[in-house]
C-alpha cells in the first residue's frame, strides 16, 4: 500500500466533534502489525501552578495538516517504512478532560511503534502552527510562550524565518 494511504491527519473543531482514540486505533490497525502505540494529550487542571479551566487552541489549519503529514512521513521513514500513522488535533475552546491531540503509530514490532509515535507527537508540539491560550479559574487568560518555528532546512536558526 502506498505510504500516503497509511497516513491520516485531521484537524477537528471541538464544536463539531471530540477526538476519539478508537478512530486512531482503527486507522492504524493492520493484520501485519503486532504493536500499536497511542499517545493522548488531555487538557489538565493545573498549569504552571495555576488552576486551569480550559484551553483555547488556535490553529492555522492548512499548514498544520501539511506539518502533520510531513511528521508522519518522517516517523515512518525513520522507524518502519511499512508502518501506519494517525495524527489528529483539536481546535477551539476545550474544557479540562477534553482531548487535545491523539497520535497513533503501528508497526510489526513494538519498538518502532513507540519510537514512531514519540517522534510524531514531538513534531506536532514543536513544528505545527498551533497556539494554546490557557484560561484560569480566576478569569485570566494567557497565551503560552511556545517554541519559535524555523523552516525545516534553515541552518542558522532565525535566519530563514
Amino acid at each position: 500500500m502506498p505510504r500516503e494511504d497509511r497516513i491520516a491527519c485531521h484537524v477537528v473543531d471541538i464544536a463539531d466533534a471530540a477526538l476519539d482514540p478508537r478512530d486512531a486505533i482503527a486507522f492504524v490497525s493492520d493484520d501485519a502489525f503486532g504493536g500499536i502505540d497511542v499517545f493522548i494529550g488531555r487538557v489538565r487542571t493545573r498549569s504552571q501552578g495555576r488552576q486551569c479551566v480550559g484551553i483555547h487552541y488556535d490553529m492555522f489549519d492548512p499548514l498544520a495538516l501539511a506539518v502533520f503529514r510531513r511528521a508522519a512521513e518522517a516517523a515512518i521513514e525513520a522507524h518502519d517504512p511499512q508502518a501506519r500513522c494517525y495524527i489528529a488535533h483539536a481546535k477551539g475552546k476545550l474544557a479540562v478532560g477534553d482531548l487535545a491531540v491523539v497520535v497513533a503509530f503501528a508497526s510489526a514490532h513494538r519498538d518502532a511503534a513507540f519510537r514512531g509515535c514519540r517522534q510524531a507527537i514531538e513534531a506536532v508540539k514543536y513544528q505545527a502552527p498551533i497556539w494554546k491560550q490557557e484560561h484560569f479559574s480566576d478569569g485570566a487568560a494567557a497565551w503560552s510562550d511556545g517554541t519559535p518555528l524555523v523552516p525545516a532546512d534553515a541552518t542558522t536558526g532565525r535566519e530563514g524565518a
Binding site: 507527537i121 508540539k125 502552527p129 511556545g146 519559535p148 518555528l149 532546512d153 532565525r158
Partner: protein, 86 residues
C-alpha cells in the same frame, strides 16, 4: 504588493480582525516583507508585538518561508508566533 496577512495566537490580541490587508510597494521576498511589516507594526502596534514579531515565522498555506523565498503571487501570508500545540 498587496498582502493579506493572517494573524494567529497572541497576534489576534493586537488587531481587530483575523487578517490584515496591506499594500507594501517593492516587497518581493519574505525578508523584504518582514522588514516592511516591522516598520508598519512599529507605527500601529505596542512594543510587545514587535518583540513577538521578531520571534515569529512567515508562511504560506503549505510551508514556512525562508528569507530569500519569493512571496506567493496571491500575496496571502500567515504570521506565526512561537507555537504551543499538543
Amino acid at each position: 504588493m498587496n498582502i493579506t496577512l493572517q494573524l494567529f495566537g497572541r497576534f489576534r490580541d493586537f488587531a481587530d480582525a483575523p487578517e490584515l490587508h496591506l499594500d507594501l510597494p517593492g516587497v518581493t521576498t519574505a525578508a523584504e516583507f518582514r522588514a516592511a511589516f516591522e516598520a508598519w507594526a512599529r507605527a500601529h502596534w505596542p512594543d510587545a508585538a514587535i518583540a513577538l514579531l521578531q520571534a515569529s515565522a512567515i508562511a504560506t498555506d503549505t510551508t514556512l518561508l525562508h528569507a530569500r523565498t519569493p512571496l506567493p503571487a496571491d500575496g496571502r501570508l500567515a504570521l506565526l508566533p512561537p507555537v504551543s500545540g499538543g
